[in-house]
Amino acid sequence: MSPFRLENVVQRYREQKSGAPIEALRVRALSIEAGEILTVVGPNGSGKSTLLELLAFLRPPAEGRVLFEGADVWERKTDLAARRAVPILLQKTVLFSTSVLKNVLFGFRVRGLSSQEAQARALAALRLVHLEHLAHRRHNELSGGEQRRTALARILALDSRVLVLDEPTASLDRESEQVIEDLIRRLNRERGVTLILASHNRGQAAALSTRVVTLLGGKLVPESLDNLLPGTLRRVEGGFEFTERRGWTRRFAAAELTEDAWEGIGPVEGPVQLAISSASFAVGAAGATSGALDGVVDSVRQGDGSCRIRVRLGNGPSLYAEIPRAEYARLGLNLGARVALSVKPGAVRVFGARSGTAP
């Protein structure tokens, strides 16, 4: 049975000043299987922490259901038990004002366990994060990395089957980062722990996880949409002008952009991410099609039935295109070849860059 299933979940917050509700997350469906390392990636404010806090049962959803091992936790009012089953490392490290060891023992104390065994498990957890020698230090005598690792030990000690880690290695030195990444792999491999992570580092996510999902503007980006272009969109006559983050500009006809992604996020202008599936391009010789994206092939990866080529667009971003092997052979696409990527109508989807804000 999959540990988690989200069904039509919506989460809202009240804006601090006006008290107006802001939609932070809208997830139609998400299942997480036992033994996965799932990483949620996305820019700041895209709803990663909101999703993780839902998975750790810190807050009930505004709408929809969060199922844990098949049961609707909030309906059955078993949220305390669920919360105890799914400890979360919050994005912000807060240590209680006491020793490192007592911090790690906190989880046992609230569960009414304060035996010799708890002590041994706490020390074992500190050993895992290489902090055993600091067990009796005060919370405020630690470096940032040591504080983060203490917070990690605090949830590791509980030996849960599932762990949720919100940006576990953000703003840490390389050494602490390495310790934590190795630990995540070991926990998963040796103890079969299911891990759910948030990260804004796509590279780290890919190297560490068994599955990566992307959140943009509080919505999950379908896995097929594997080209993401951050930038701004401006309404112009006959369509939209997109300016990519580094300054590359292109006009899109209204028909090229998918409208269903706009639902609920207001008029499409301002900061957005364009999402395009690598399989949605038609690849042809450069200059052959008007309105196509012209570029140069700068890497090729051959798969079983298809090829994945990376095309660099002038001085702009690179896009991945997935084409059948036969097509690849016919076009004679060597590295450095000039090609044109045609965008099929509706293939470009638009996501607001931040959750809750009209792009």
């Binding site: 305390l80 105890r84 400890p87 807060v94 209680f96 006491t98 906190f106 919370h139």
Partner: protein, 232 residues
């Protein structure tokens, strides 16, 4: 200068020789301060925690009201309590006017808002994420609330010390409600005023030095606590 020097010498002699009057006023002041701080603490600390922990309509108004009461002059509180406990007042039948329990009640009325407001601030100052962190580790709502209070403990202790300090050096309530009766309700502060009025400067100064010693001990305690807090 000569007068001041002579007065200082006489004051020192009065203190060292444990002058019965000085001793009597000092002990009474200490007793009133300790008892009223304890009573106000029992009332105001839980109230401050309660207000800090709960969200309710009009909370901002309550907080503003408390902060206003912080600045109320002690003589005004004295007058108010006098009106309540004087013979014609609603609590006149309790015969609390010109008694030590009467002063204590007045002091409780004086410092309860201070203690409530400072406790509230101490609890509210604790990082909001402390509660979330406690819950993320499996604490129930009640356990998480307790963690927040624990984290605010030094702030609450500082609030209690500040309240005690206010009572020890206070003269308005002690004078108006207590009546400054020798042997019954005279405290260090009311005795100082009386002795200055009567020209007994040395005695007044001796009493002032004792009061200063109380402040000193208080501040040392405060510093030690803060040092402790920094260590933790």
């Amino acid at each position: 200068m000569g007068t001041l020097y002579e007065a200082l010498v006489r004051a020192a002699r009065l203190i060292v020789s444990l002058d019965p009057d000085v001793l009597q006023y000092a002990l009474r002041s200490l007793y009133i301060a300790l008892v009223s701080t304890a009573l106000a603490g029992l009332l105001a600390v839980p109230l401050g925690i309660f207000i800090a922990e709960r969200e309710f309509r009009g909370k901002r108004l309550v907080v503003t009201g408390l902060n206003t009461l912080l600045a109320v002059p002690t003589v005004v509180v004295g007058l108010f309590v006098y009106a309540l406990v004087s013979r014609q007042g609603p609590f006149g039948f309790l015969e609390l006017l010109f008694t030590v329990p009467g002063i204590i009640i007045g002091e409780v009325v004086l410092i309860a808002p201070l203690l409530t407001a400072l406790t509230l601030a101490a609890v509210a100052r604790v990082d909001r994420d402390v509660r979330l962190t406690a819950r993320s580790l499996g604490a129930s709502e009640r356990q998480a609330a307790w963690v927040v209070i624990r984290e605010a403990r030094y702030g609450i202790l500082a609030a209690i010390i500040a309240a005690y300090g206010r009572v020890v050096g206070e003269v308005g309530v002690a004078m108006i409600v207590g009546g400054n009766i020798d042997g019954f309700t005279r405290t260090l502060t009311t005795a100082i005023i009386l002795n200055v009025d009567m020209g007994y400067f040395a005695l007044a100064l001796a009493l002032g030095l004792v009061l200063l010693a109380f402040s000193f001990v208080l501040n040392v305690a405060f510093q030690l606590l803060q040092g402790e807090a920094r260590m933790r």
